[in-house]
């Protein structure tokens, strides 16, 4: 048995992979943006010191972090037609699920980020007459975000890898593109191998860039 990669042509890339890659990247970016926004809100709820805000947020985060992602994807996809009376499609289902799921992880990062900003910064902001909201928005969160940027990006790389789990509900992502091409050309082994190479190249390049960014941030600080 030899590996035959001759089926791998530009036509194949165009017909099978580009669409999948676009969805994978879309899903990653939307889930990242939404995850950071909702994650920050969850983090602020947990840090608010008010139990009626902190407890629900903590419960949500801990639940999401304790369930395998693939189950969340599957259950949301299967249950939503019962909840709203009609299906919403694998793509939308994936976008909502990933945003909700990743919020829990980003929230833990942002919580650590807010706590990394020293108390004196808050005191200084208050002493100038800024309100709690202004202090958070203008002083604490920008610093928290900057301090946590490398970790937020690393989480996003993991998120990109995890988007391949949408195979469970049949959404057409990058992995699905390879799988379909492999089936069409009857070369499944080669297709999965190439998929691994492509995921590796993308993720390794990104994590190297994050490392470089980390060094630059460390110098600025």
């Amino acid at each position: 048995m030899g590996l035959d990669l001759s089926f791998f042509t530009w036509d194949l890339v165009k017909n099978f992979l580009v669409g999948g890659l676009v969805f994978s990247v879309e899903l990653t970016l939307i889930a990242m943006a939404g995850g950071i926004v909702f994650g920050t809100l969850l983090a602020l709820m947990r840090l608010s010191g008010r139990s009626w805000l902190a407890l629900p947020a903590a419960a949500y985060v801990n639940t999401m972090r304790s369930i395998p992602l693939v189950m969340v994807i599957l259950w949301f996809f299967l249950l939503i037609p019962f909840a709203i009376g009609r299906p919403i499609g694998a793509e939308w289902s994936a976008i909502i699920t990933f945003t909700a799921f990743e919020s829990a992880y980003y929230s833990e990062i942002m919580r650590a980020g807010v706590q990394s900003v020293v108390r004196g910064q808050v005191d200084a902001a208050y002493a100038l007459g800024l309100t709690y909201g202004q202090t958070m928005r203008l002083i604490v969160l920008p610093q928290a975000f900057r301090n946590m940027l490398p970790i937020l990006l690393t989480q996003t790389i993991i998120l990109f890898q995890d988007t391949s789990l949408v195979y469970a509900i049949g959404a057409y992502d990058l992995l699905k593109g390879f799988e379909t091409a492999g089936k069409n050309f009857n070369r499944p082994v080669e297709a999965y191998l190439l998929a691994a190479v492509v995921y590796f190249v993308i993720c390794y390049t990104l994590s190297t860039s994050v490392k470089r960014l980390q060094v630059r941030i460390a110098i600025i600080r």
């Binding site: 020293v118 004196g120 910064q121 005191d123 200084a124 902001a125 208050y126 002493a127 100038l128 007459g129 800024l130 309100t131 202004q134 203008l138 002083i139 920008p142 610093q143 900057r146 600025i220 600080r221």
Partner: protein, 244 residues
């Protein structure tokens, strides 16, 4: 009417009492230095004045406004009192200029032009006009503290609170900060300064407060305090910090 009045203030951290029945006042235009051994509660006291630390008993009135009154708008009150911290606490993600204009624009609702002009005047005054576009991390400690003073002054405060403003500085930078503070005192600014700089106290203070174990042990005009402190504890403290 005193600018700052502290009446029978007590504060606990859990069961531990950090401030015990402290009463004093700072009149308009008066410079009061608060000193005492570390852990004596002087930083806690000055933070209470700006409502940065809650307290359980007593009352503080700043410019006629009581901090304990639930109707008091604390952010508004704080905006009228400048505060300088031991570790400067400039905002590291903002340029020096933005550090000086942020609260002017967001709290006092000044226009951008007006805020910039005010900031420039004050930077000039503390000798740092050239540093406006830099970030706090690019400045020395002494420069950062001078920017912090300018940032507080940009709000046109009724009074200034200093919480050990020179304690975190390298020795060669202490004087540049003290010079700014002396100038401010001589212009008639109302100041409450937690500091160990007795030279500063001798030069510009009207009164000196000595604290120990959360109590105000001595509250005397400068001449009396340095002439002959009445309490043994203050004498011991002075002998320790002056004789070397």
């Amino acid at each position: 009417m005193p600018m700052i009045e502290i009446r029978n203030l007590s504060k606990w951290y859990g069961a531990f009492r950090v401030l015990t029945d402290c009463s004093t006042h700072v009149d308009k235009g008066e410079v009061v230095v608060v000193c005492g051994p570390s852990g004596s509660g002087k930083s806690t006291l000055i933070k209470c004045v700006n409502a940065l630390e809650p307290f359980q008993q007593g009352e503080i009135v700043v410019a006629g406004i009581s901090l304990t009154d639930p109707k008091t708008d604390l952010p508004k009150m704080r905006a009228r009192v400048g505060m300088v911290f031991q570790h400067f606490e400039l905002f590291p993600h903002l340029s020096i200029m933005d550090n000086l204009t942020l609260a002017q624009i967001k709290v006092l609702n000044r226009g951008k032009e007006e805020a910039l002009a005010k900031a420039m005047t004050l930077l000039d005054r503390v000798g740092l006009r050239d540093q406006a576009v830099k970030f706090p991390g690019q400045l020395s400690g002494g420069q950062q503290q001078r920017v912090a003073i300018a940032r507080a002054l940009a709000m046109d405060p009724l009074a200034m609170l200093f919480d050990e403003p020179t304690s975190a500085l390298d020795p060669e930078m202490i004087n540049e900060v003290l010079d700014v503070m002396v100038e401010l005192a001589q212009e008639g600014m109302t100041m409450m300064c937690v500091t160990h700089e007795m030279g500063f106290a001798r030069k510009v203070a009207h009164r000196v407060i000595f604290m120990d174990r959360g109590e105000i042990v001595e509250d005397a005009p400068k001449e009396d305090f340095f002439g002959k402190p009445r309490s043994d504890r203050a004498q011991l403290f002075l002998s320790k910090i002056l004789h070397h």
